[in-house]
């Protein structure tokens, strides 16, 4: 049992606050990803979980135990580092044996040369060797045990780093951007392997990345962090379809979500960019709103009007089955980007005028302070709809 409870964690470095009141509960056996741009505090949070960094306030419990002030070694966690942090002067076999040796041999037995002569040392070494071999084989690096890290490719080093964490059979796996040093093809492959590993081991994984495709493909839940704050924790699809916060909506998704600044005219209609959209009747008159429209929420319509954006095509990018159309819409700062299915949007050329319709239920509304504005029934409808699709 190794659920993790993070309570009101704060971390400051001098005057700068890196983490502010982060609270999070991670279930036993869950794959949770901390997602955010670099500098958002996600790695610091992971290091606090590992005991490598110390929070300035708040508390962490792993399993039933509050681990504040407990040394990393005694926390029953293993970690895979972005740089792998393999010991360059040790062979793969030695690298993977280290965590076991440190736990199973006492100080005397670990002495060089002399330790080997003490009773029991030999048997422990033999057992460790067998376990390392078994783990290495499971990771497909059994033939590399005698090599040193310098003689391995990036992918092989990555596996050794995972192997070193695995041999210990920890209750919690912490991974700090473990794939970011690999090339794109290998990254996709390792993504699947790590997911597979999680399934097989069934222990809790906390995974840190800035790459949203890693986050959505691997995780049970994604925790989005920005500027030291936890903005939303939810399953990947929900983070995308139903963001809590404007910053989450803007961070997740490529191409980026289109944001149109709008003003509510009267009950249920917001004006922007020379057109108007139906919004929830709760939006009060005269307030500023941001309308978030995902690029794929658009569809081509014949003429302008209500719930339709009209503009001149600036650029068309052919992406195989999809088209990315950049549209200059009068009254907006940035071009609006639409993702259209290629077969349904034939013959769009730059310069032409295009009308793009949006169904009102696909609009994401945000208040001026960035909070999501959900019409009472509407939001739950989306969630229910999405959950159904999941099952």
């Amino acid at each position: 049992m190794a659920a993790i409870t993070i309570e009101k964690i704060e971390r400051t470095f001098g005057a700068t606050t890196v983490l502010r009141h982060v609270s999070l509960e991670i279930a036993d056996g869950e794959f949770l990803t901390l997602l955010g741009p670099s500098g958002c505090g996600k790695s610091t949070l992971l290091r606090i979980l590992a005991g490598l960094d110390v929070q300035t306030g708040g508390s962490v419990a792993i399993g039933d135990r509050v681990v504040d002030g407990v040394r990393p070694k005694r926390r029953d966690v293993a970690m895979v580092f972005q740089s792998y942090a393999l010991y360059p002067h040790m062979t793969v076999q030695e690298n993977m044996s280290v965590p076991l040796r440190m736990r199973r041999l006492n100080g005397w037995q670990r002495l060089p040369l002399l330790g080997r002569l003490l009773p029991g040392t030999k048997a422990v070494h033999a057992a460790i060797e067998i376990e390392v071999m078994r783990t290495a084989k499971a990771l497909g690096i059994g033939h590399l045990l005698a090599r040193k890290p310098g003689q391995l490719s990036g992918g092989q080093r990555q596996r050794v780093a995972v192997g070193r964490a695995m041999v210990r059979q920890p209750a919690v796996f912490l991974m700090d951007e473990p794939l970011s040093n690999l090339d794109a093809k290998l990254r996709v492959q390792m993504r699947a392997e790590i997911k597979e590993l999680h399934k097989r081991l069934g222990v809790t994984f906390v995974y840190v990345t800035h790459d949203q495709s890693e986050a959505v493909t691997m995780s049970d839940r994604v925790a989005v962090m920005l500027d030291g704050e936890l903005l939303q924790v939810a399953p990947p699809q929900e983070i995308y379809a139903d963001p809590d916060d404007r910053r989450v909506a803007e961070f997740i998704g490529a191409p980026k979500i289109n944001m149109l600044e709008a003003r509510v005219r009267d009950g249920g209609v917001a004006e922007t960019a020379g057109t108007s959209f139906s919004v929830s009747p709760e939006a009060s008159l005269g307030t500023g709103l941001a309308l978030g429209i995902r690029p794929e929420a658009f569809h081509v319509v014949e003429a302008g009007g209500h719930n339709v954006l009209t503009g001149a095509v600036r650029l068309v990018e052919h992406m195989g089955s999809d088209l990315f159309v950049h549209l200059d819409v009068p009254g907006t700062d940035h071009p609006v980007i639409a993702r259209l299915l290629a077969e349904r949007a034939p013959q769009i050329a730059s310069g032409q005028t295009l009308h793009l319709g949006v169904k009102p239920e696909r609009l994401l509304l945000f208040t001026a302070d960035g909070k999501r504005l959900r019409p009472k029934n509407h939001a739950t409808a989306i969630v229910v709809q999405m959950k159904e699709r999941q099952q």
Binding site: P72, K73, M79, F81, Q82, Y87, P88, H89
Partner: protein, 278 residues
């Protein structure tokens, strides 16, 4: 300078000049070796020949090795250099690790002390260190030759710079793996910093093998003298007239470092100038 090819005449001039300067540089070495294999009669004859008419090397080198405690001097040199280096590494690497990788109150002050100590010329300290040695009653012993050097500010500085280049993640991984801080120093940092350790080792051994100033102050007993002091005593006893054995002894004192230098040139140049270039 540029890598462009020199024209044949300038290439010839380059070799000619460098061969001449090189030969001039080597004259003292050549003369030393030449005298060390000549009989007294030939030494005092006005002639240029490098190779003697009668090879007298065996006699001279035998005299050097048996007429003075030269083997003892060499052994003392080895013992003193080894003791100094071992203690320097044992004391400097943990401090350098703390300075490079740990965050603790007083760290900047400690580093400032190291930098200041780095600037102090050691000869200035000789007088108080001599008094300290006398008070401790360790003058005229191996301990007297070793104790002023057990901590090397240069070593701490050099190792700190090197440790800084080792990623923090390696230290973190070691902590997660269960290493104690001292074990991280010995099992992780020192093996990873081997190039710096070797460079420092060469610097330290060359300095202390060649050092005359402090041994002259610290020991008076012939059985404790390191090679430079020993050979100075040998010279004074021989009254400068018996050049053959004296040159043989000089050659034997210089030889170990020269041989080591020629077989690991790059390391030596790095070790002896690395601190300056860094």
């Amino acid at each position: 300078m540029s890598t462009q090819r020199l024209s044949p005449p300038s290439a010839f001039v380059r070799h000619a000049v460098l061969l001449i300067t090189g030969a001039l540089i080597l004259i003292p070495f050549v003369w030393m070796v030449s005298l060390s294999i000549k009989p007294p009669g030939e030494i005092f004859r006005a002639s240029f020949s490098f190779w003697p008419e009668h090879f007298y090397g065996v006699e001279n080198y035998t005299r050097a090795l048996t007429g003075s405690p030269l083997p003892r001097y060499m052994l003392n040199g080895v013992i003193v250099c080894a003791a100094i280096l071992a203690l320097q590494i044992a004391i400097c690497t943990p401090a350098a690790y703390a300075l490079a990788k740990l965050d603790f109150p007083g760290r900047n002050l400690l580093f400032a002390l190291v930098l200041i100590a780095l600037l102090l010329p050691h000869e200035v300290l000789a007088l108080p260190l001599f008094i300290l040695g006398a008070k401790l009653g360790i003058l005229n012993s191996y301990a007297a030759l070793v104790f002023p050097y057990v901590v090397s500010p240069f070593g701490i500085f050099l190792f700190r710079q090197f440790f800084k280049t080792i990623p923090d993640d390696v230290v973190h991984a070691a902590r997660l793996d269960g290493f104690s801080e001292l074990a991280i120093v010995w099992r992780i940092m020192v093996p990873m910093a081997l190039p710096a350790i070797i460079a420092f080792g060469i610097f330290s051994v060359v300095s202390h093998w060649n050092s005359l100033f402090w041994p002259l102050i610290a020991v008076s007993d012939q059985t404790l003298m390191p090679p430079p002091l020993g050979i100075l005593v040998f010279k004074n006893e021989e009254a400068g007239n018996d050049y053959g054995p004296l040159m043989a002894a000089s050659t034997l004192v210089v030889a170990p470092l020269i041989v080591a230098f020629l077989s690991a040139q790059r390391w030596f140049v790095e070790g002896l100038t690395g601190g300056a270039v860094k």
